[in-house]
């Protein structure tokens, strides 16, 4: 039963990734404008442009380019960067661990604080604490992560010297040193998403706390903590899981912007510099990798969902 469910979900994931690849192709090839001309700039000669078009395979008919593109994506061959002197796969493999670590740290932070605070806020509904939490989380969800990043740099790093300002430490430094450099960025990325998690957790808990079985558990005389954790949250956690799936996209997007603020050599930094230099193969590769991570995380969440909630039918 479970196995066929997993297989079916894997099939669904492949279908979405096929469409994702198609969207990526459409963005780069169908939108008017000649990538080769844009990449080389206004000073390029017609011959240079034609040569680059051949190198990038842009001279072939569009359907052929599309098939070719799909074939190389399936084989994880993402082409060569125009400026970096390395393959896109190599460039991404070099930078993806940082982006993933940053996203994971931010997700951990946002969840570890967001879920308990959301539960507490729901349990103490209407109290001063609840109102304060609601106000703060609403405000935090309205702040751009890059602005939080800059403010954190200014106060925590420059003025109070608590944490490193920017960068990623020397390349041969241990994992712990790297993580130290990622603390501020993780806060900047995590904060707006933590706010979302708090608000969603609170709503899910409120839904559950109104159920009859919670009243029954209370009437039985169970300790309030037991009722909240064992009875209420157990049933709200699948909803919380769904929320986590939804914030993954926000976390990855936040990481992309925040890397630029802190000068971290991750996928985000790679994409932004690729956009400024019109390095299309790199942009395409990054789009595929980031959306691939998103789709994968959501697959895992769907599977966990089925494992946690017996009511979910395979």
């Amino acid at each position: 039963m479970m196995r066929s469910y997993v297989l079916r979900r894997l099939g669904g994931m492949a279908a979405v990734m096929f469409l994702v690849a198609t969207v990526v192709f459409v963005i780069a090839h169908v939108i008017p404008g000649d990538p080769a001309a844009v990449m080389l700039g206004p000073s390029a000669t017609a011959a240079d442009i034609a040569a680059l078009r051949v190198r990038l395979g842009l001279d072939a008919p569009l359907p052929l380019q599309y098939l070719d593109f799909l074939r190389s994506v399936a084989a994880l061959r993402l082409g060569d960067s125009v400026f970096l002197g390395q393959t896109v796969t190599a460039a991404l493999a070099e930078r993806a661990p940082l982006t993933l670590t940053l996203t994971l740290m931010a997700a951990t932070l946002a969840t570890l604080i967001g879920v308990p605070v959301g539960i507490l806020s729901a349990v103490k509904r209407g109290s001063v604490l609840d109102q304060a939490v609601t106000a703060v989380s609403m405000a935090a969800a309205s702040v751009p992560s890059f602005w939080i990043g800059l403010t954190l740099i200014e106060y925590l790093a420059v003025q109070w010297r608590l944490l490193p300002v920017a960068g990623y430490g020397p390349p041969d430094a241990g994992a712990l040193t790297h993580m130290r450099y990622l603390i501020l960025p993780a806060i900047a990325v995590g904060l707006p998403n933590m706010a979302l998690i708090i608000r969603f957790t609170r709503t899910s808990m409120l839904d559950v706390l109104h159920e009859d079985y919670v009243r029954t558990a209370r009437a039985k005389g169970l300790a309030p903590g037991t009722v909240i954790i064992k009875h209420a949250f157990r049933n709200a956690r699948t909803q919380v899981l769904t929320i986590l799936g939804l914030v993954v996209s926000g976390l990855l997007g936040g990481a992309i912007v925040t890397e630029t603020v802190f000068g971290l050599p991750g996928v985000g930094n790679l994409v932004v510099s690729a956009v400024l230099r019109r390095d299309y193969p790199v942009i395409q590769g990054a789009l595929l990798v980031i959306s691939g991570i998103y789709v994968l995380v959501n697959l895992v969440i769907d599977l966990l969902y089925a494992a946690l909630d017996p009511r979910v039918r395979y």
Binding site: L19, T242, G253, V275
Partner: protein
């Protein structure tokens, strides 16, 4: 995604209930409910102020946004420059006001484009079964990219300009509106009044435009408020990264990007445009929440 459909059903039935007392117009009733909550009222006032400031920027801004004053570079806030001046001696307050023009115009146009396109696609997907599978898989694929990344990629293909930011963000947010419109349509089309209209021989186009669309408006209005907030944030992010509105145009994101290198000497350069973004987005979110509560009695009771 799993919740959108259920949450939607309640707000649709709420609209039907809200329309019941005949003597008060629904819009009036909605406004009365909105204003009753002080925070929502305050946010509406903030929004009115921001919109007014943006509209009146050419007349109320103390200086021209590009006017340089080399003698007063990086001046701290004072009576001369209320929010200080930047590295070219340009007045930060004036640039914030002009920035509001750009940000709000971009945000509004994105809401119009994504709102119209998303509604059309969503209602069509929800009502015409044949289209549903394809359209929803495509929105799935587009929503697999973080907003900002898809916007960056589109901007790379389109080229940096304010008009292209509108197009890019319109494309990015259309699937989100389509999702909501589809969810609502799926609920509504099972209701009896749609069945009755079908039995009377109404065609697909008439059902969608006359029977489904009006009943979706309240939910779409809420969605569009949040969309407005999201587009302002994403536009600021794009400008900040240098992939949005060209850096010479004063926008809140551009101002923060330019201020980065003077952060240690002139915090007001980052503070002023940042607060503009936060206040506007926060006010929009509060109004969006207020709208949703006002349109949905069930949610209000739970709170």
């Amino acid at each position: 995604m799993r919740h959108s459909i259920r949450g939607f059903g309640t707000s649709v039935s709420a609209t039907l209930a809200a329309a019941a007392p005949r003597h008060v117009s629904p819009a009036r009733l909605l406004l009365r409910r909105l204003v009753r909550r002080k925070l929502v009222l305050l946010s509406l006032l903030v929004l009115a102020l921001v919109f007014a400031a943006a509209a009146a920027a050419p007349w109320v801004a103390p200086y021209a946004p590009q006017r340089m004053d080399i003698l007063h570079r990086l001046a701290a806030p004072s009576a001369l420059h209320w929010f200080g001046s930047d590295d070219f001696g340009r007045d930060v307050l004036s640039r914030c006001l002009w920035g509001a023009r750009t940000s709000l115009t971009v945000g509004l146009l994105v809401v119009v484009i994504a709102g119209l396109a998303g509604t059309a696609l969503g209602v069509a997907a929800g009502y015409l079964r044949r289209l549903d599978g394809v359209l929803m898989r495509v929105t799935d694929a587009m929503m697999a990219f973080p907003d900002i990344l898809l916007a960056i990629a589109l901007m790379a293909a389109l080229g940096a300009s304010a008009a292209n930011v509108v197009i890019a963000l319109g494309v990015v947010y259309t699937p989100r509106v389509a999702r909501v419109a589809r969810g609502g349509t799926l609920v509504l089309r099972e209701l009896q009044f749609v069945e009755a209209a079908e039995a009377l021989g109404a065609g697909g186009r008439r059902i969608m435009l006359v029977h489904l669309l009006p009943n979706l408006l309240s939910a779409l209005l809420v969605q569009c408020t949040f969309l407005f907030a999201a587009s302002i944030l994403t536009e600021a992010g794009l400008s900040f990264l240098g992939a949005g509105v060209p850096p010479t145009v004063p926008t809140w994101g551009n101002m923060i990007a330019a201020a980065q290198q003077y952060m240690d000497r002139a915090q007001w350069l980052i503070l002023a445009p940042g607060l503009c973004i936060v206040l506007t987005v926060l006010a929009l979110q509060v109004v969006g929440d207020g709208l949703r509560d006002a349109l949905d009695p069930k949610l209000r009771r739970i709170r």
